[in-house]
């Protein structure tokens, strides 16, 4: 009863999504957005009309002005620095705009250019000092803050009366100060445009990536050839220009040069940036984060002002928020991957029928024997991790290795070997096509092809992204085994989409259907996912009828048949169920049946643990991987089955003396060749009553009968 409940709970509750969602970068933006919503709700309840259109329009106008400055600050923080002088720069550029307009009576476009140039120059001072002379950002901008403020104080002493006396009346200047388009303030429009550009700039353009790279690790960025100094300097210049834009709109709106303009602006802007989630450590941040942070700060400031809180209180609140946000930022950055690794692994219920007996006296086809003890070893200690083996019509023996090579052994004694081709990754399943191209599934890379003249070509490394998955599953992580249909389409298995190849034990611990079968069509060079949600799909073999394929689900302990053509197209049938071990590769036998490798055998303790997901989840958290309860892959066997799913025979090497695990086998001219992904040898076993002329892929392509 409780088992049924458990089964239903794990079938319908998607535990695995939490970890996947948390590992998305955008979840870091989600928290500030949540804070923003809370702040908006709280103030709209406390203040009537807080979120009314008129009030919003007003907020939006201020939002634009501060928003530009926050962009500048965000950029500087992103590159690994800080700019405390923005408040003074804001005041100076505000003065510059009004001086040019009111006293020099320049036309507005010229005023805009002059102000932007002034901002750029002010920023350039910071940029040169910090970028090129490598002064500390904090100290440098603190000094420029004081110098610029002093300069501003001197300037307004002389000119404030003149500026206050003039009343320029030009349409463009008025539009900047108070105009709107369909209720959207002028500066908010420019802000939106700049935000879109900024987002594209930071996420899609090379200079944007350079900025993040420098902020993330200045030394690595330098070693990668990024012009670190000039990029940093330019960020400060940009900060100056963006501040100048904000000051222009401010000048157009108010037209004053009061003594307190821009004081404390750096704290407001810094709070906005940090609150939005732009990391003080540099390298992490986005335009959206800057926007959200600015909005929060603005809503709080406006809300408190409306509630007629004294200015001191507002600043105190902002400073408290700044401290809190900085603490959360640091703790989160430090612990993010730990939290994700704790919640990412999400075991599920996996119940199987009672374990069938394999005892030597059980009378079943699985009865243990030690026939494989007679297998001789090829390449002992010279080949490492031959997951699959294959032979061509000239009796050459090919096998993958963990060094990413395809090794070729020479007949007749298979003593001599050479590197046939180097692909990289972990070569796994292999198959010859009609034109003698050797197709190889490479763990970590995808599907590759070696032409008869030894050229390595990529066939495919991505498939269609599923619409319902949280993580991007278009890239191939663990292409495992393949076979080729009569029309040339290649069907291959991808064992898991949630883990990398070396993390296969974690996938076994989850026992979730994380794998899929993918089809690549060389004629159209297209790839699509044929079947999803399989429990570690592994071996693939086209059935004799040419319309279906057999595939093994390793953790499911089943072999199924998938119809990719003919009247049953699209259907999946179970062929072998409740196997006593974990099935791996499947290949043709000379008598028309199929060989199936068992990489390991089931044990009762793990079968029970697979029915208790909570136990496994805690095990994954508390124990190191070396201590985990594992599927036993130290003993394997080879079985033979027919089209109807009857098991005919089994070959064992008990105790795993020569071949501890068997991941693949290939029949060739009266011998069975054995591969194992953790073995340092290939086995060769003489089959007593097999066809001595059988060459699998010549039979497959009708070149031999």
């Amino acid at each position: 009863m409780s088992d049924t409940l458990l089964k239903l709970r794990y079938r319908y509750w998607p535990d695995h999504l939490l970890g996947e969602i948390l590992s998305k970068r955008w979840t870091e933006t989600a928290i500030p957005v949540f804070v923003l919503i809370v702040v908006a709700l709280v103030f709209s309840r406390a203040i009537p009309g807080f979120l009314a259109p008129a009030s919003l329009g007003d907020t939006a106008r201020q939002f634009g002005e501060i928003g530009f400055v926050t962009f500048g600050m965000a950029l500087v923080i992103l590159v690994g620095g800080i700019d405390l002088s923005v408040g003074s720069m804001f005041a100076l550029t505000n003065f510059c705009a009004l001086f040019c307009l009111n006293i020099l009576n320049w036309p507005v476009p010229l005023v805009i250019v002059a102000t932007l140039v002034a901002g750029a120059l002010l920023g350039a001072v910071n940029g040169i000092l910090i970028g090129y002379l490598r002064l500390r950002a904090f100290i440098t901008t603190l000094i420029t803050l004081i110098i610029y403020r002093a300069l501003y104080d001197i300037l307004i002493l002389e000119h404030s009366n003149q500026i206050a006396a003039a009343f320029p009346d030009t349409p463009l200047w008025n539009f900047m100060g108070g105009g709107d388009v369909f209720g959207v303030p002028s500066d908010a429009l420019l802000y939106a445009a700049l935000a879109i550009f900024g987002h594209i700039f930071l996420t899609r353009l090379r200079p944007g990536w350079h900025i993040s790279a420098i902020g993330g690790s200045r030394r690595s960025a330098y070693n990668s050839g990024i012009p670190v100094r000039s990029v940093i300097a330019r960020c400060y210049v940009a900060s100056g220009v963006l501040t100048a834009i904000g000051a222009l709109f401010f000048a157009a709106r108010l037209g004053t040069v009061g003594g307190d303009i821009g004081t404390g602006l750096e704290v407001t802007v810094l709070t906005a940036a940090i609150l939005g989630g732009i990391s003080l450590g540099g390298g992490k941040g986005s335009v959206v984060k800057a926007m959200v942070g600015t909005l929060i700060v603005l809503l709080i400031t406006n809300g408190l002002t409306t509630l007629s809180a004294p200015g001191g209180v507002t600043r105190m609140v902002l400073a408290t928020i700044l401290v809190l946000a900085a603490v959360i930022d640091i703790r989160w950055l430090k612990n993010r991957h730990r939290i994700i690794s704790k919640v990412y692994v999400s075991p599920t219920y996996h119940g199987m029928p009672a374990l069938p007996s394999t005892a030597a006296d059980s009378g079943t086809p699985f009865a243990q024997n030690d026939r494989l003890r007679r297998a001789t070893a090829i390449g002992v200690g010279r080949i490492e991790a031959p997951e699959d083996v294959i032979l061509d019509r000239n009796d050459y023996l090919y096998a993958g290795s963990r060094q990413g090579d395809i090794i070729r052994f020479f007949p007749p004694d298979y003593e001599r070997m050479e590197v046939y081709a180097h692909i990289g990754g972990s070569p796994l399943g292999m198959a010859f096509d009609r034109k003698d191209n050797l197709y190889v599934c490479v763990g970590g890379m995808g599907l590759y092809r070696i032409t008869p003249d030894r050229h390595v070509e990529k066939a495919t490394d991505e498939t269609n992204r599923s619409l319902t998955s949280v993580t991007d599953d278009s890239r191939l992580r663990l292409a495992d085994d393949l076979d080729i249909a009569d029309d040339g389409r290649i069907f291959f298995s991808e064992a898991t989409v949630r883990y990398e190849m070396h993390e296969w034990p974690v996938d076994g611990l989850e026992a979730r259907g994380n794998g899929r079968i993918i089809c690549y069509d060389p004629a159209t060079k297209t790839t699509h996912t044929a079947l999803k949600g399989l429990k570690f799909p592994n071996g693939i073999c086209i059935a004799k009828n040419g319309q279906s394929l057999f595939f093994a689900e390793t953790w499911g302990c089943t072999v199924k048949r998938y119809w990719f053509a003919g009247p049953k197209k699209g259907q999946v049938e179970t062929v072998l169920d409740n196997l006593p071990g974990y099935p791996d590769n499947i290949n043709l036998a000379s008598d028309g049946n199929y060989w199936l490798a068992m990489v390991g055998m089931r044990c009762p303790a793990l079968d029970l643990a697979w029915r208790m997901p909570g136990f496994r989840r805690r095990m994954a958290k508390r124990l190191p991987v070396d201590e985990w309860l594992f599927p036993n892959i130290n003993t394997g066997c080879v079985i033979k089955f027919d089209d109807e799913g009857r098991v005919l025979d089994s070959l064992w090497d008990l105790g795993g003396v020569n071949h501890p695990m068997i991941t693949s086998m290939r029949e060739h001219r009266g011998h069975l060749y054995l591969g194992g992904i953790l073995n340092n040898r290939i086995g060769r076993y003489a089959l007593p009553d097999a066809d001595p002329t059988f060459v699998q892929y010549d039979v497959r392509w009708g070149k031999q009968h």
Partner: protein, 363 residues
């Protein structure tokens, strides 16, 4: 209460599954694995020696092993679970775990089946003291001698130490409520030391309970003790701890279902020997890679003898590590300059020259 809940949630404190490393005097070697095989006999349970001759308990009989092929020394009507030699030439024998008899010597004919009104259940070790009493450890009040693993998995804590006083008085219960008592001895100062296996320690007996620890936080489950020449003792450990077993011991639901649904030999539990079938649970580090099983992989079964100084501090140790065969050491006795080790896991008696090994270890 709250601390216990957070501990369970976060795997801290009581819920931590850490196992101390084999370090210091317990630094691994392969002396036990490489030791010469003295005898290979099935169903051995215990060893004893008077310094000249070696005796072993096999099923219902005591065998004399020195000087030629094994000869029968005594026979009983029940399987022997433990025995020891007495100073006066007699011999104390535990039968079926439920009765202690004395044969020969002054106490000949003495029979004891209960102490403090509670019948014996799993007498697993006997030791003579200088005063002529016999120390007996009764592992569990609920599980019979052979089911020690059940007792561990049920988190048993019903072991006790009993002092038998043949011919002079009633048996006295020296300590009770021990988490599996297995092996006891009298120290040079006259204290009674007892191995509390499930708490991985050697403790003194004080006021009818476990007192201060002589040897604590062992990475193994300790068992019988035997005196060594020159003072001190030989302490055996019948199996080692693993983090997975520690974890399972804290997973009540899993443990209950495992005990109900799975045959004991396939449990996640410490064993006297392992690696016989793929139906046994396998852990990550047990995967043979390139044909090799790492000797530092978690020990499902282990072979270990620790030489203790007179004050109980460990001096050195002899090991048979993961992947080895001489596992499940339940008895080690000294006889004529050699150490004889009974490895119940593979039914062997090993013979190690003590002087040579000490010279080698001291290099």
């Amino acid at each position: 209460m709250l601390a216990r809940i957070t501990d369970r949630l976060l795997g801290r404190g009581e819920a931590a599954v850490t196992v101390p490393p084999f370090d210091g005097a317990l630094k691994p070697n392969q002396h036990l694995e490489d030791a010469a095989v003295f005898a290979e006999l099935p169903d051995l349970e215990d060893l004893a020696s008077d310094g000249r001759e070696l005796f072993a308990a096999q099923r219902t009989q005591i065998l004399r092993l020195t000087g030629g092929p094994p000869t029968m020394h005594a026979r009983f009507d029940q399987p022997i679970t433990a025995f020891c030699l007495l100073a006066d030439g007699g011999m104390a024998v535990a039968l079926g775990g439920r009765r202690v008899e004395i044969v020969g010597g002054a106490g000949d004919g003495y029979v004891c089946e209960a102490a403090n009104g509670v019948p014996f259940n799993a007498i697993n070790a006997l030791a003579a003291t200088a005063a002529g009493t016999v120390l007996a450890t009764d592992g569990s009040r609920t599980q019979p001698y052979a089911n020690w693993c059940h007792d561990l998995m049920l988190r048993g804590r019903s072991g006790r130490v009993i002092a038998l006083d043949p011919g002079r008085g009633q048996p006295r219960e020296l300590a009770r409520g021990l988490a599996y008592a297995f092996g006891a001895c009298q120290s040079a100062e006259g204290d009674i030391w007892v191995c509390e296996s499930w708490r991985h320690r050697l403790v003194t007996v004080e006021r009818e309970a476990a007192g201060k620890a002589v040897l604590d936080a062992l990475p193994v489950y300790p068992s019988r003790l035997a005196p060594a020449t020159g003072g001190g003792f030989w302490l055996t450990a019948f199996t080692a701890r693993t983090q997975l077993v520690e974890f399972v011991l804290r997973e009540t639901a899993y443990r209950r279902r495992m005990m109900k649904e799975i045959e004991p030999q396939y449990w996640i539990a410490p064993k006297l020997s392992s690696g016989h079938t793929f139906l046994e649970p396998m852990q990550g580090a047990h995967i043979k890679t390139m044909g090799i099983l790492k000797p530092w992989a978690p020990p499902v079964s282990y072979g270990l003898v620790i030489r203790l100084a007179a004050d109980g501090s460990p001096l050195y140790s002899l090991h048979s590590r993961t992947g080895g065969r001489n596992h499940g050491v339940v008895a080690a006795v000294e006889c004529a300059g050699h150490l004889y080790v009974l490895t119940k896991g593979n039914e062997r008696i090993l013979r190690l020259p003590i002087a040579e090994i000490e010279a080698e270890l001291n290099q």
